[in-house]
């Protein structure tokens, strides 16, 4: 039986984030969003609504896209996490980041990390998505600035560039 009772309050929780091991001390129901921003200094994870409605706090956890504002940190123990900071390599932007820049997919930028991660997740499963598939994959992400057209175009452009079409 691996039942574990944790008292006092703070527990030690470890996970991998962008390929690096991180260990934090946190209350089990603290939001993964807050731990990533405050303890791991990954401020690319943005808080919009804090209620699961906007997707700006999206990250990849064990290969699936989740809202980090709804994930209790205890469920991130041993998880493999990717945030926007994990996409670029050294001095080169990720193809999605470059496409968002080139196509005007980012304006104020609050939604952008979540959008790009949602798109990254889509392209990793489906390298040549249709317009409809892009819309569906980004349906959990709100943008108040762009009206979505440039965002969809950025994702389509990134797909073209990375499949060489």
């Amino acid at each position: 039986m691996s039942t574990t009772t944790h008292q006092p309050q703070k527990s030690e929780i470890s996970f991998t984030v962008n390929g690096q091991r991180a260990t934090v001390h946190a209350h089990p129901m603290e939001r993964l969003l807050d731990v990533l921003r405050q303890q791991v200094n990954l401020t690319g994870v943005k808080e919009g609504c804090g209620e699961g409605e906007c997707g700006s706090c999206s990250i990849l956890m064990n290969g699936v896209l989740v809202n980090s504002c709804l994930v209790p940190i205890l469920q991130a123990n041993d998880a493999d996490i990717i945030t926007i900071e994990g996409l670029a390599s050294q001095d080169r932007l990720h193809v999605l980041q470059q496409a968002f820049l080139d196509c005007g997919g980012a304006q104020c930028g609050i939604c952008t990390p979540g959008m790009i991660l949602a798109a990254f997740h889509l392209l990793s499963k489906n390298p040549q998505p249709s317009r409809e598939e892009i819309g569906e994959a980004l349906s959990g992400n709100l943008c108040r600035c762009t009206g979505y057209t440039q965002i969809f175009e950025s994702v389509a452009e990134a797909a073209r560039r990375s499949t060489g079409r």
Binding site: M1, S2, T3, T4, T5, H6, Q7, Q9, H27, P28, M29, R31, E51, G52, E53, C54, G55, S58, V64, L65, V66, N67, L70, V71, P72, L74, Q75, A118, E136, A137, S139, G140, L142
Partner: protein
Amino acid sequence: MRAFDYVSPTSTRQAANLLSSTWGNTEILAGGTDLLALMKEDVVTPKRLVNIKEIADLRGVKSDSSGLRIGSLTTLAEVAEDAGVREKYPAFAEAVREAASPQIRNMATVGGNLCQRPRCWYFRNGLGLLPKDESGKELVEEGDNRYHAILGNDGPARFVSPSTIVPVLIAYGAKVRLEGPKGKRELPLEKFYVIPKTDRDREHDLLPNEIVTEVVIPAANGWKVAHYEIRQKAAFDWPLAVAAVALKMDGSSVQAARVVLGHVAPTPWPSPQAEAALKGQPANEDSAKKAADAALANAKPLSQNAYKVQLARVAVKRAILKAAGGAA
């Protein structure tokens, strides 16, 4: 958030023994998409949290002679992608795909969806399921009740049952299986939802130390099922009305029907009136309209939600026509 401890049992039996027999002391944590918000706002303040995510037996979709068995820890995304669900229960797969957002479906579990707490804003502000002010005045009746119940609302409960996947599960004849310290039980899913009468009641027929282990959907043999929901926007808000319909046809006439409404009452709302109106009739525009009228005949809107009556009527009518037009 208050102080609490947490445990991560690896079997349902252990989990049941770690839960208190009194509501308020302990809470079950599954995907956390609802519970985290409830705890952050101190709407629920357990002394112990029982994280059930490490109970491997509660995961996955299986099929056997009782039908399709969906473990309570299966996520909504896993259900939506399951080949057996998509092939044999397409209306359920559709309802799951329409629920919430991709991110939430990746975390949210089926058991958590069935047990999620009402979205009533009085409840979410810590005023309880049956909110009253100090003088005993009922807050929903007097206050902002735009999204509250139009059926089953003669009091004191006026919230609406939140799940959008439960009505279609009921239309398929689904059952829920529970396990507690005294053993297991099974009940028709519609019986799992109850209208609380006092502040001590819960909206589920669930003991504080019981765990939802699985949902069983019997084979849909011969039933044509459809799900229809009306939302203001496509995503991120909650539906204003949901209807699920199952029809068993005898030639061109309806031999038997199940009609279940959602987001209109404190429980999912089966409508025997609509079912009777359909029986023996052809499934067409005219009979669908009559059944929809019958489903809402007893509706009693509150001060600000009369618009929901017509929306619910439209949802029922369209679900009937959709079921009549499609396969199971």
